[in-house]
Structure formats: structure tokens, C-alpha cells
Assembly symmetry: D2
Homo-oligomer: 137 residues x 4
């Protein structure tokens, strides 16, 4: 699958006393990335997709007001779950400012469920995950 990308600015609320973006904020950024990928794919983002596992490796620090890009890519579809690779990159302020800098990389595993419990990944999800992303990279 192609990589979906979305941009945001690091908020003051997301910093910590070390002067950098607090370590849990990246999991919020990962979620913004997933929500925007789902929007681009025309899929719902709701309680039927509980998170069962998440991971993050920290490479470099972001600071208040940095311009960030969140990359999301479905890298594995399992029987009743799927796994997304996620990265956050710091972009240069100027559009022609060169490549971004990798800050963190991780992954998120979401289960598929309905009212009665876990269910196989719906066909609409499989089709969407295997096709191109509108507006993605």
C-alpha cells in the first residue's frame, strides 16, 4: 500500500519540561495520521477498531511549533487485525527546504470487532487498504 501523509504543527500543550515534545504526544500524532488516512480511504474510524498494540522508537526530538508530517501505511492485514507502520518527520519551514528529518517511527495494531466481539477484517477495509490513497503520497 502507498503511504498516506498528513501535516500538523506541534502544539505548546504537547511539550514537556525538557523543552521538547512529550513522548506520548507522538501516539496522538499517530492517531491523527490514522484518522486522516481513513478519511482519504472513505472508511469509518470508530469503536469497532480497538488498538491492541502500539510501539514507538524515538530518533530525534520535536519542539513547539515544528511543522510535522505523519506517515501511515497499512503493512500487514491479519485475520482479525491489521498493522500500520507510522512515522513522524519534521519538515523544513520553506517548501523547497530539502528533505524532512525522521523523528520517530512505530506501529499500531488495530483489531476489527462488532457488538459480539472480534470479526474478520471487513472486505471494504481489505479493498481500501490494497488500493491507492486519494491525496496520499
Amino acid at each position: 500500500m502507498r503511504i498516506h501523509r498528513t501535516r500538523l504543527r506541534a502544539r505548546y500543550a504537547e511539550t514537556d519540561a525538557t523543552g521538547i515534545i512529550y513522548y506520548t504526544s507522538y501516539f496522538v500524532y499517530f492517531e491523527v495520521g490514522r484518522v486522516e488516512m481513513f478519511r482519504a480511504l472513505g472508511l469509518p474510524y470508530d469503536w469497532r477498531l480497538p488498538i491492541v498494540e502500539t510501539h514507538c522508537r524515538y530518533r530525534a526530538s520535536a519542539r513547539f511549533d515544528d511543522l510535522l508530517e505523519v506517515e501511515t501505511c497499512v503493512e500487514e492485514i491479519r485475520t482479525r487485525a491489521f498493522r500500520m507502520a507510522q512515522r513522524v518527520v519534521r519538515l523544513p519551514e520553506a517548501p523547497e527546504g530539502g528533505p524532512g528529518e525522521l523523528l520517530v517511527e512505530g506501529y499500531t495494531v488495530m483489531m476489527t470487532q462488532d457488538e459480539s466481539g472480534p470479526v474478520p477484517v471487513p472486505t471494504a477495509f481489505r479493498v481500501a487498504f490494497e488500493g491507492p490513497v486519494d491525496g496520499g503520497g
Copy 2:
């Protein structure tokens, strides 16, 4: 009504890049104070008590790991709402370390509602608010 008091430690997650506790964290502390006051009074704390107004004045800064005391006091019962005065004080680490330092003071107004909309403040709330607080100050 007497003042209810509860203690907590400022978390690293609650700091910001200025090195102090982020300004919205005090509203979370206010809520911890309300929840513990309600527990002491034997009242439920749930969706039937939406917040309609809140205010905070900042006097001094807290830092990571400060020992804080949240004070909550119902200061006014209205027809379909009640207003609580709230303060956060920094305590000395040693029990005999002298008086605390006022950090912030504010208030919260909660409405009383049921499924159909606003309702008069229930009698159980009026009785509890006008009596002494178990374990309070």
C-alpha cells in the same frame, strides 16, 4: 460548607516547555478535587453534571513532582446548577514544613440534568453540600 482537600503529585506529563505545569493541567486537578469531594459525600460523578463555566487565576507556578493539595468548596447552590470554589496549593515536602503556597484559584459551575434536560439540583445534593465532608478539612 466545609472545604474538601485532596492531594496529588504534579506529573511530568503535565509540564510544558517553560519548565512549569501547563495551564490546562489545573483544570484536571480541579476535576480530581471534585471527584474526591463527591466520593467523600457519597454522590455520583457522571454525565448528569455537565460543566457550564470554569475560571482560573494563576498566582505562582508548580513544577514536576511538586506535592499539591486541591481544595474544593461548594459556594453557591442555584436553581439548576451549583458553583464550586477551587484552589491548588503547593505543600512543603516535610509534614511539619509550614503552610502551603497558593498557586491558582478558580471556580467551576456544574448544571444538573437528566435525560430530558436541566433539572433542579437534587435534594440529595443539597443535603450533602450543606453537611460536613467526611475526611475533609
Copy 3:
């Protein structure tokens, strides 16, 4: 002064168990509004502007993924502080979807300081606050 406006989407991280946007999230939105107003005005947004008072009145609830507009307006310049009126409005999803709905309104008072303590509001701030806002409303 004219009103500065900026848009954002309510994040899942900002919801609470009542199913709506948590009450402190609006203070984060207020801050995003201030940061973007300062960017539009060419002013720095940093530790020299501590918040001394904030207030919010809640009119209606936002939900996950709502499209929100934050309005910020400097309404009073004091000797060593200034006060901004702030509102959050829910926008219709369609650009021609009619007027937005007021969700909350409040204000924020920021003091001006340097390393030695409070200072008069700098001239650059007074000039910027009294002129038009680039890209604002």
C-alpha cells in the same frame, strides 16, 4: 482589533467518556488560536507571555472529528497585560453549509515579562494588536 480565525479538527484524544470533547480541550484550542494569531501578526509566542487568568463558558458540545474554528481577538491592552476574547465555533462540513454554531466562549489574560519580571506591553505588540490581521477575518 479584527478577529483572527483558525481551523482545526477535534481529535479523538480530546474526547471524554461522555462522548464529547473534554472541557479542558477548549483551552488547548484557545492556545492554538493565540499561536496562529501571533504568527499572523509576526509576534513571538513564548515564556515572556505567561497566562494569568483564563475563563470559559460552555454553550454546546463538540464531538470527535468536528470541524472547528477558533476566534481570537485582543479586546483590551492593560499596562503590563492584555486580554483576548476567544470563541470556538463548529463549522458545517460543506463550505456553503450555512453559519457555524457557537460552542464555547471565554477569555485569556497574558502578562508581559522579561527575565527581571513584569514589563509594560512592548510597542511592537501594541502596534500589531491595533492593526489589521493578515489572513484574518
Copy 4:
């Protein structure tokens, strides 16, 4: 090393629109667990211990006001980093209420650094991590 345990109550601020504790809140609980373990060990908890990796697997959901216990255990000391296993368990409200329920389990890797960059794990840390924990389990 023995397991260090600390208790807290799930806050309303930590819930999300699904009605459960939001997935990033557990990383804040993990941090509370680390801070309290460091306090018990007499070690500083500060910027010299940046987080380089974190992981969480979600087994069951917590809800507002649940009584939780955070378990922290240094499971590996590397050359310039150490890894802690972390778990969050829901306790019964009554002290004799039986065993707790495992909610999440994960780990955190912290690097040791000084002003000039990464340094070997200080001897004081090695000694503390290999001895018993005061007040721990």
C-alpha cells in the same frame, strides 16, 4: 530485580469517547510508575534519562475511577540504556477482593546521557536496580 508497585485512580480526563481509558493514558501511568520507582530507589528522574523506545499491548479496558496498580521492573541493563517491563492491573475496590486483572503490559527503554551525549549507565543506577526496592513488592 523486584517489582515496584504504585497505585492511582483513572481520571475522567484520561477517558475517551468509547467510554474507556484512552490508549495513550497508559504511557502516562507507566511514567508515574517509573517516577515512583525512582523515588523509592533514591534516584533522580530527569532529562538525563530520555526515552528511546516504548511499547504497549492492550489486554482489557480500564474505566473512569478504576483503582489501578502500575508495576515497574528493570529487566535489562545495557551499556548506555536500561529497559523496564511495565504493567497496569485493575485492583478490586475491597482490599480482600481477590487478585487484580491485567489490563496492559509493555516496556520502556531509557538511555543515560549527560550534557555531552550518551554515557554508560551510572554505577548508582546499577547498584539501585540490582538491590531490593523500599516499599516495593
